[in-house]
Structure formats: structure tokens, C-alpha cells
């Protein structure tokens, strides 16, 4: 997982998706996820995947990072499909569902800083859970840095090598043990600092306001159309199935437009 790279892309990006209202993005995410869940039609799913690819290209995040992250659930879904799918086509559908859901999640994560994603969640969960979500975000980067330094130190002392898995495992374990002790001290220090700064009730994060209502509307309308298409092909499959090949075509045009636009801007 590339947690640091994801945060960097979300924080430093300036595309229309980065500037969109976080709540609009979460609504769009829910809609596109529902679209991927409802359908078992291979071509409808393909359309959703192409549409999400267009969103990623237009957001100007590194496509390699986005697709690597989305490939992770697709890979595990492939293992699951291999182990349990009744036939090859069902297996492909399971993998495409995972890819679509993964791309949707990654698109939100790569264009929205975590605190902005957690802010709406924080309002509906108990205070301690919401605060812990934000503390997790902060601690993750501190620990990632610390763990990277520890592993560098271990590697420099030849603690990790491909030819010696037992030694490598022992070195990794000790590094994690050291990290655990460090994290305890860190949590104690964090609490002391938070108390000094007035922490009593809960941490509060304000959701960024929308910078472009039109962009938000386009985002929600597009994903609503994707869900409507998915539902339509599910309910009226009787008459619509022979025309399934039509579904990916608008998505392909969107991808083409995003590619041309990103070329011009670069």
C-alpha cells in the first residue's frame, strides 16, 4: 500500500475533482458503488470501469498509482473467483466488480485528503471513534517514516536479505517491536500535547466548501446516470440486453476526452 503517495496526491492536486465538494464525491462514490453492485452484466461493468478511468485521467493523478491500488482488490478477487466462481464468466464479473469498486475508492482517496473524508463519518460515529480515525491518519505517517528509517537501518546492517528469510523475518519483527514501543511513547506524548491545547470533548474537522457547484452537479449526475443504466439493464434486461454493447461507448468517449484534455494541459 502506498499511503504516503495517496496522501500526497490528495493534498497537492489541483484538478476539478480535487476542488469538488468532498460530500459530492462521497455521494458519487456511493452511487457508482451501487451501480457496480447491482449489475452482473459484463459490458455494463466494463462501462463503469472505463468511466472511472476517465475520472482518474481527468484528475491528473498518477495513473500508475491509481491502477496499482485498484489492481490490489482485483488480484484478491481473482484469487477468490478462482477458488469459488461457478464459471469463467462469473469469475471475470467478480474481478471487474472488485476493479470498479477499487477504482471508485481510489479516485476518492487520491483526490480528497483523509480528514475531509473522515469529517462526515466523524459526525455519525461515537466521539471516541471519530477522534481515533483522525489520530490514525496522523499516526500512520509518523509511523511510516519511523518504520522506513528502522528498516533502512536493518538493511544497512544486512538484516534483511532474500536468501535468508528467517533472519529477515526476525529483523522485521524486531523493527516492528521497536516501532510498537515508540508508538506507545508517541501516543502518551500526543495526549499530553492535546490536553495542553485544550482537547476535552472531540476533535472537529470542517468540511471544505464547494468551489464549483457545476463540477459537483456534473459529478453526481454522471454517477447517477451510471446507476440508472445499471438498474435499467438489470430490470429491463429482457429488452435491453442485446444492446449492452452500447453502454461502454459513452464511457470510452469520456476517456478519450479526458486523455486529449490532459495531453493539452501537460
Amino acid at each position: 500500500m502506498h499511503i504516503g503517495a495517496v496522501d500526497q496526491a490528495a493534498t497537492l492536486g489541483t484538478s476539478w475533482l480535487h476542488r469538488s465538494w468532498p460530500i459530492a464525491k462521497l455521494v458519487a462514490f456511493a452511487l457508482v458503488l451501487a451501480a457496480a453492485m447491482v449489475t452482473w452484466n459484463l459490458l455494463v461493468l466494463l462501462g463503469i470501469v472505463v468511466l472511472l478511468s476517465a475520472a482518474i485521467v481527468s484528475s491528473r493523478v498518477k495513473p500508475g498509482l491509481a491502477f496499482t491500488l485498484a489492481a490490489y482488490p482485483a488480484f484478491f478477487a481473482a484469487v477468490f473467483a478462482l477458488a469459488s466462481a461457478p464459471d469463467v464468466l462469473s469469475g471475470f464479473v467478480i474481478v471487474l466488480k472488485a476493479l470498479a469498486a477499487g477504482l471508485a475508492a481510489v479516485t476518492v482517496a487520491l483526490t480528497t485528503p483523509y480528514p475531509q473524508i473522515f469529517a462526515p463519518v466523524q459526525r455519525v460515529v461515537p466521539g471516541i471513534v471519530g477522534d481515533a480515525l483522525l489520530m490514525t491518519y496522523r499516526s500512520t505517517f509518523l509511523l511510516l517514516d519511523k518504520f522506513a528509517n528502522l528498516m533502512t537501518a536493518v538493511r544497512l546492517r544486512s538484516g534483511v536479505s532474500v536468501g535468508q528469510p528467517v533472519r529477515a523475518a526476525r529483523a522485521t519483527t524486531q523493527a516492528l517491536g521497536g516501532l510498537l514501543l515508540y508508538s506507545f511513547d508517541l501516543s502518551q506524548r500526543d495526549y499530553d500535547i492535546m490536553r495542553v491545547r485544550g482537547y476535552q470533548d472531540r476533535l472537529r474537522v470542517a468540511v471544505h466548501p464547494s468551489t464549483s457547484r457545476a463540477a459537483d452537479a456534473v459529478l453526481v449526475a454522471t454517477t447517477l446516470a451510471a446507476l440508472a443504466t445499471s438498474l435499467l439493464w438489470r430490470i429491463a434486461a429482457d429488452s435491453l440486453n442485446p444492446y449492452s454493447w452500447l453502454v461502454p461507448i459513452p464511457a470510452l468517449f469520456a476517456l478519450l476526452a479526458a486523455l486529449v484534455s490532459s495531453r493539452r494541459k501537460s
Binding site: 459490458l43 467478480i94 490514525t136 499516526s139 510498537l180
Partner: protein, 276 residues
């Protein structure tokens, strides 16, 4: 098996919905209990343990390409109440990274939470049976037992969702002749929108019978794969957990051996005042 890598839309609504409901109920109860017992000072600790689990999940052991989870370590350190909260947080963050579906956050939290709580309970039981000096061994055994149980839980979930959930139509394309076909010819409106289209209104229709006999998710094959590959993962996780817990037990035992497991104070004869 700290989480299941089943994509969104494969398991039926009633199953993942029940998982979400149960998880939310548990998280709310755990949140209330934590706040009643003045556990707010542990908020940073919750954050760092969740972060530690995420960091561990992002680091592979060379050259086995296996990522550890540290669920049992987290459970031992946090206890049962806070473990439920951390399990939920970890799954939310993982889902945001595409590492596990959003709809299965509930089921994943139940599995991770069960792993942490079981790990904590077994560790405490084993340490009191063995000895405080064998905390690492106790943690290793607790990890293997816990992972075996949660893997069975995972197979149970797939079995629950598998019988009806995956006997579905894949839609437009017939791979045999590459022709588009109508998978819902037996009744469009009888198809459960979120249940996967496995129900048919007209049960006497021969086509419906044909659909009913379609191959469904092979739970047996899935179980065979999981129970064959799983033990290697259990062993690695157990060794890592034993190593970490053993290390912490040596360096700072109060972190994991507190409460009933704490070392009893030795009274030096003639020092009844405790050294004061």
C-alpha cells in the same frame, strides 16, 4: 485472516447488511463503554495501534510476499472494548485504499474484531496457564488458534452467502457462442435487485428449474484453498506475533502483562512499609 477480500456486490444484501448492523451496534456499545470508563485518554493510543496495524499490513516479509496483520498484538495491547473500535477504523481506512470492499467493512470488522478479542482472551488464558516468562510462546499459540477460528468464520460467511448469492446471471454475453442472451427471460420483476437474481417467481417454469440448477459458489473448493494456504500465513503471523510480544515482554512488560497478569510485588522481610 484479518479481512476478507470479497468484492462489493458478491455477497447478498442481507449478509453484508447484517454485518454492518452488527458492527455499528458493537462500535456504538464499545464507544459508550469506552467513554463511560474515561478511556478518552486512550484516543491517541487507538490511533497509533490502528496505524501500526496499517503499517504492518503495508510491509511485506521478504521474500515470502506475505503481509502481517498484527491483530492479535493489537488485541493484547488494547483489550476487548477498544479492539472493536480499532478493527472498525482499520477496515474503514483499508476500504478507502481499495483494500477490501466498502459493503464488507461490517463483516471485515467482525472478523478482525473477533481475531483481536479472541487473541486477547486466549493470550491471557495461556499466560496464566504457562508463565509470564513464556508470553511470546503464549502469543504464538493464541495467534494460531485465533487465526484457525477466524478462517473457519470466513468460510462460514462464504457458505452463508454462497448458496444463493453467486448462482447468478452474468448478463449479456454467452461465452460459448459469444451471442447476447436474455438472462431474465423467466420473469424480470421477480428478480431480486440486490439479492443477485437467484429468485424466480414462476417456479414451475422449466427454464426456472434450469436456472435453479446452475452452478453456485463452490464453498468446498474455497475452503480447500483457504485451509491449504492458510496455515502458512498462520505460522508466519504466529512467529511475528510471538517475536513482538516476547520482545515487549522483555523490554517493557507492563504494557502487556498488566492487571491479573502483572508481576506480584515481592515483599522483602522486614520491609512491610514497601520501602518507604
Amino acid at each position: 485472516m484479518s479481512h476478507i477480500h470479497i468484492p462489493d456486490g458478491v455477497l447478498p444484501l442481507w449478509l453484508w447488511g447484517a454485518g454492518w448492523l452488527l458492527t455499528l451496534a458493537l462500535v456504538v456499545i464499545a464507544g459508550k463503554v469506552a467513554e463511560r470508563h474515561e478511556m478518552r485518554r486512550k484516543v491517541p493510543l487507538l490511533g497509533v495501534i490502528a496505524a501500526l496495524m496499517l503499517v504492518a499490513m503495508s510491509s511485506e516479509i521478504v521474500p515470502l510476499a506475505y503481509h502481517i496483520n498484527l491483530t492479535v498484538v493489537g488485541g493484547i495491547l488494547l483489550g476487548p472494548v477498544l479492539s472493536v473500535i480499532v478493527a472498525f477504523i482499520v477496515q474503514v481506512v483499508l476500504a478507502l485504499l481499495g483494500h477490501g470492499g466498502v459493503t464488507v467493512i461490517g463483516l471485515n470488522t467482525l472478523i478482525t474484531g473477533a481475531e483481536m478479542v479472541l487473541g486477547w482472551a486466549l493470550f491471557h488464558m495461556l499466560v496464566s496457564m504457562l508463565s509470564r516468562r513464556r508470553a511470546g510462546l503464549a502469543a504464538g499459540i493464541a495467534t494460531v488458534l485465533t487465526l484457525a477460528l477466524t478462517t473457519t468464520m470466513l468460510v462460514g460467511i462464504v457458505w452463508l452467502g454462497g448458496s444463493g448469492a453467486t448462482g447468478r446471471e452474468t448478463g449479456a454475453l454467452d461465452p460459448a457462442d459469444l451471442k447476447f442472451e436474455n438472462p431474465f427471460a423467466t420473469g424480470v420483476f421477480s428478480v431480486g435487485l440486490f439479492s443477485g437474481g437467484e429468485e424466480h417467481a414462476d417456479e414451475t417454469d422449466p427454464a426456472a428449474d434450469e436456472h435453479a440448477q446452475e452452478p453456485t459458489l463452490s464453498v468446498g473448493r474455497f475452503a480447500a484453498v483457504v485451509y491449504t494456504l492458510g496455515p502458512l500465513g498462520w505460522l508466519i503471523e504466529a512467529l511475528v506475533t510471538a517475536g513482538i510480544v516476547g520482545y515487549v515482554a522483555r523490554v517493557r512488560p507492563t504494557l502487556i502483562l498488566s492487571g491479573a497478569l502483572a508481576e506480584k510485588q515481592r515483599r522483602i522481610p522486614g520491609d512491610e512499609a514497601g520501602g518507604l
